[in-house]
């Protein structure tokens, strides 16, 4: 490994409305190394790399590329300096071929000389051992192959500083290995490889050096040989946890509300996202599931709600097998779902508060006489929701798109709890909300638990997990890393489990 610094970022600051995404961050990468940028979601990794690729402009700080101070206004500037970024979501034109995608957008290419292009692409792919047919269409390629096209695209533009944003999130384990083989061969030729990740084992397996960010600040940079998974996990999550419990009543009852047995669910790419997962949820408890998002939480919740097909396993509600039940049947049995995507899944922004408040109850005999809806009754109900949950909105006839995030979420909770559910699935219920809204959402969840509902709370915010949970589980790569009562678990343990470095212990995932 050479010691020539190709990327130096000094004192980078970047402020967004309401958050300081980067606070005095220094970052250095050398030619010939694979450098991992590690941190939780929202730690500021993507912001830092977006600054390095000219997508964002820093408020303060300097960038030096190969010992020269640079000022970048756009990704084009970055590319001309040899900096290329591979995004998590590929920017490829599906009906075009590999070769066409590679030259797409290059201004000096006016006439497509297909044969010369094919030769160039072949040469490049042989040089870096990237196996691709230049004349395949993008839609014919697997996700891993599409990623290789993205890499070739950047190489074709002669970039030697390559940044990859969570490159392994969409890949199978086999594809991950191939990717890093490619990256290693590029590093050996003197390239600088930076990859953003939150997966510990990838860092330990593939990185030469590691930079850890937390809450927008640089925590440290170290060589792989000089650190351990334990240390990295601690650095990644280690922070003061507010211990103010919001869930003080210990009303844990023993009645089982939900039992999940060996549940396996595929994600949209048809890869296992939930992998043989088992747990029980009891009446009168909040089971907090910590974990970095993207570890199968979304797929788990959707499968429980009946909105995503199971690949295997069983789900029982109140002792009854509901594995094959429709979403409506599960709803009618007392399942409520607060999904992570508020506006794309739980609410229709272009419809009124009343209509959105009615989503789950319009079929009840109170509001429905032989198919004709009692819109006055539904409006009255919406008015009651607004009053009881102190939702700030013009009235039942206002459109949901005029509400703030916190009020929209309150509307969802009002609706979901109105039918006194026995199971509440809550995904990131306070994500993006301010402190006051967060507090009221938490109060509602605790009240529901006290009423006797079993609450399954998915969160990546450890404060929230510690404030609310009666029991804690950690989800990692589609599995639960054990479940422990809140009093018996430490922050370190959770951090380790979140990074996949160690199990929590306690009840087994099975």
């Amino acid at each position: 490994m050479s010691t020539q610094a190709t990327v130096e970022m000094k004192g980078i600051c970047k402020e967004f409305p309401s958050t300081l995404a980067n606070d005095q961050v220094d970052f250095t990468a050398y030619a010939g190394e694979i450098h991992a940028l590690l941190g939780e979601n929202g730690a500021g990794k993507s912001t830092l790399m977006n600054i390095l690729t000219g997508v964002l402009e820093q408020d303060k700080g300097e960038i030096w590329i190969r010992k020269k101070r640079v000022f970048m206004k756009s990704p084009k500037d970055a590319l001309s300096l040899g900096i290329g970024m591979i995004y998590q979501h590929f920017k490829l034109v599906k009906p075009f071929t590999v070769a066409e995608n590679i030259v797409l957008g290059m201004e000096n290419v006016r006439v497509l000389n297909k044969r010369a292009l094919e030769a160039q692409v072949r040469e490049l792919s042989q040089e870096y051992k990237i196996d691709l047919n230049p004349f395949s269409f993008i839609w014919q390629l697997s996700i891993g192959e599409q990623q290789r096209v993205e890499i070739l695209k950047v190489l074709y533009r002669r970039a030697d500083i390559l940044i990859l944003d969570e490159p392994t999130a969409v890949l199978t384990p086999e594809e991950v290995k191939e990717l890093f083989q490619t990256l290693r061969s590029m590093a050996k030729k003197g390239g600088t490889i930076i990859f953003i990740t939150h997966k510990m084992h990838e860092v330990m397996e593939f990185a030469d050096r590691i930079t850890v960010l937390r809450d927008g600040r640089l925590i440290g940079t170290m060589k792989r040989e000089e650190t351990s998974e334990q240390e990295l996990a601690r650095l990644m999550v280690g922070r003061e946890i507010s211990t103010g419990r919001r869930n003080r009543e210990n009303t844990v009852k023993s009645q089982e509300q939900l039992r999940v047995k060996d549940l396996t669910v595929l994600n949209d790419k048809r890869v296992k996202a939930v992998d043989g997962l088992s747990f029980q949820l009891f009446a009168g408890e909040i089971l907090g599931v910590a974990g970095v998002s993207g570890n199968g939480q979304k797929e788990l919740m959707e499968a429980l709600a009946g909105l995503r097909p199971r690949a295997g396993g069983q789900i029982f509600m109140g002792g009854q097998d509901i594995s094959r039940a429709s979403p409506r049947e599960r709803m009618d049995q007392g399942m409520a779902f607060i999904p992570e995507d508020r506006y794309g899944f739980a609410l229709v922004p272009s419809m009124t508060v009343m209509e959105n408040a009615s989503l789950k109850c319009y079929r009840d005999s109170r509001f429905n006489r032989g198919g004709v809806l009692d819109y006055r009754g539904l409006e009255q109900q919406a008015r009651e929701f607004i009053k009881e949950f102190e939702i700030k909105v013009g009235g039942p006839k206002s459109l949901v798109q005029s509400m703030s995030g916190g009020n929209a979420q309150k509307l969802i909770l009002a609706r979901e709890t109105a039918r006194e559910p026995s199971v509440i699935l809550a995904s990131y219920p306070v994500r993006g909300l301010d402190i006051k809204a967060t507090e009221s959402i938490h109060q509602i969840l605790v009240k529901e638990k006290a009423r006797g509902a079993g609450v399954l709370l998915i969160s990546e915010d450890l404060d929230e997990i510690f404030q609310l949970s009666d029991r804690v589980a950690v989800m990692y790569e589609g599995k639960l890393m054990g479940i422990l009562p809140i009093g018996q678990v430490t922050l370190d343990q959770i951090g380790m489990a979140m990074a996949g470095a160690a199990r929590l212990g306690g009840e087994d995932d099975g």
């Binding site: 909105l307 409506r328 899944f345 609410l347 272009s350 989503l359 004709v372 809806l373 819109y375 798109q401």
Partner: protein, 363 residues
């Protein structure tokens, strides 16, 4: 906060309206139609015609006599049935572009019943023809629906393809197996017996199809605005993901709504052959399918709105025919129709967005 802002160059800004006031829903289309006429006036002037005279003749032709008014309603009937039918599917964001094919299948089904069900009275014959048209066209509409639900095939494409299948099937029938043996070379079926003819009213050619169309529009309007099924359809139209989350069996709805939507378009075919032509013949409903879709779009998929716009289209057709006596070609009428359509389509932007001038300030 949730404003979706589109920044224009300089200081023009479009801001999405939070609430669309009721008066705007009528004012914008009315102003758009007027705009279309004004715009056309430029070309009429260029052609050396007096726009006022042309529009006067059009008005006179479409509404000025009981014959003209009757013809306007006659032209409106199939347009109304097809547009009401397809707008029902459009409401759910299911693009039933197959009104043309469904209309032809409905006409063929009604023809088959009437020519083969001999010896029954008019009520029985027409009821049977009505049901046959509705069900056969409905089943025809299920083909793209099933393909969409099962294999996620784009219904717009399959519907358009099936239009060819439907219209060419009728061409073959009237030139082949169903051809009137006494009809010389004309590609048409035998004339219907009296029991298969819908009576005309008021000494015009207006037939019972107008009642069917109005009832269909009223029924769908009631379903959409007052019942749980309408609520569910609107929810699916707004966002199928949310609908699934709310427990609505979206796929079943796609099938059911396509069946009804296509069935109503089929009634348009039945009412044309039973009410006007009294036989199945070539070009008995020229341009009705595409116009029906345009009308549904202009009426923003509102069933009662579709009735109004169909009336306007009927008047344009009849009025347009009457200006030919001024020596103007038919394409003039099409030009006027086109510019009205253009203005109405563009006008929806003013309904959904508010325009603001911000001098000099940024963001």
């Amino acid at each position: 906060m949730m404003d979706k802002e589109r920044r224009g160059r300089g200081s023009l800004r479009l801001i999405r309206r939070m609430d669309i006031p009721g008066w705007l829903r009528l004012a914008v289309p009315a102003a758009s139609i007027a705009g279309g006429f004004l715009f056309s006036a430029i070309f009429l002037l260029g052609a050396g015609e007096s726009p006022l005279e042309v529009y006067g003749v059009m008005l006179q032709g479409a509404f000025g006599s009981s014959y003209g008014l009757g013809e306007t309603v006659v032209k409106m009937i199939p347009l109304m049935l097809v547009s009401v039918g397809v707008s029902f599917a459009f409401k759910m964001q299911i693009w039933n572009a197959g009104g043309e094919g469904q209309l032809h299948i409905g006409a063929a089904a009604a023809t088959f019943i009437i020519l083969n069900l001999k010896g029954y009275d008019r009520k029985t014959t027409l009821t049977a023809a009505f049901l046959a048209a509705f069900f056969c066209a409905g089943l025809y509409g299920l083909i793209p629906a099933v393909m969409k639900v099962k294999w996620n095939v784009n219904e717009l494409i399959t519907c358009l393809m099936l239009n060819y299948v439907g219209t060419l099937l009728i061409s073959w029938l009237i030139q082949g197996p169903w051809k009137d043996p006494a009809g010389f070379a004309f590609p048409r079926t035998a004339k219907f017996p009296r029991a298969g003819e819908m009576p005309a009213f008021f000494g015009t050619r207006i037939h019972a199809g107008v009642v069917m169309g109005l009832l269909a529009a009223l029924l769908l309007w009631f379903i959409l605005t007052r019942t749980r099924w309408g609520f569910e359809i609107q929810l699916i139209g707004a966002n199928p993901k949310v609908a699934e989350y709310a427990g609505i069996p979206v796929k079943r709805y796609i099938l059911a709504v396509m069946f009804v939507s296509a069935g109503i378009a089929g009634i348009a075919g039945m009412s044309e052959v039973c009410g006007i032509t009294h036989r199945l013949q070539a070009n008995f409903a020229a341009q009705v399918g595409p116009s029906g879709m345009t009308i549904a779009y202009l009426a923003q998929c509102h069933p009662l709105g579709a009735v109004l716009v169909s009336f306007l289209f009927g008047a344009l057709l009849v009025g347009g025919n009457s200006i030919q006596k001024l020596g103007l070609p038919v394409s003039t009428v099409q030009m006027i129709q086109g510019s009205i359509l253009f203005f109405v389509a563009a006008g929806t932007m003013f309904m959904n967005y508010q325009i603001q001038w911000k001098g000099g300030s940024r963001e």
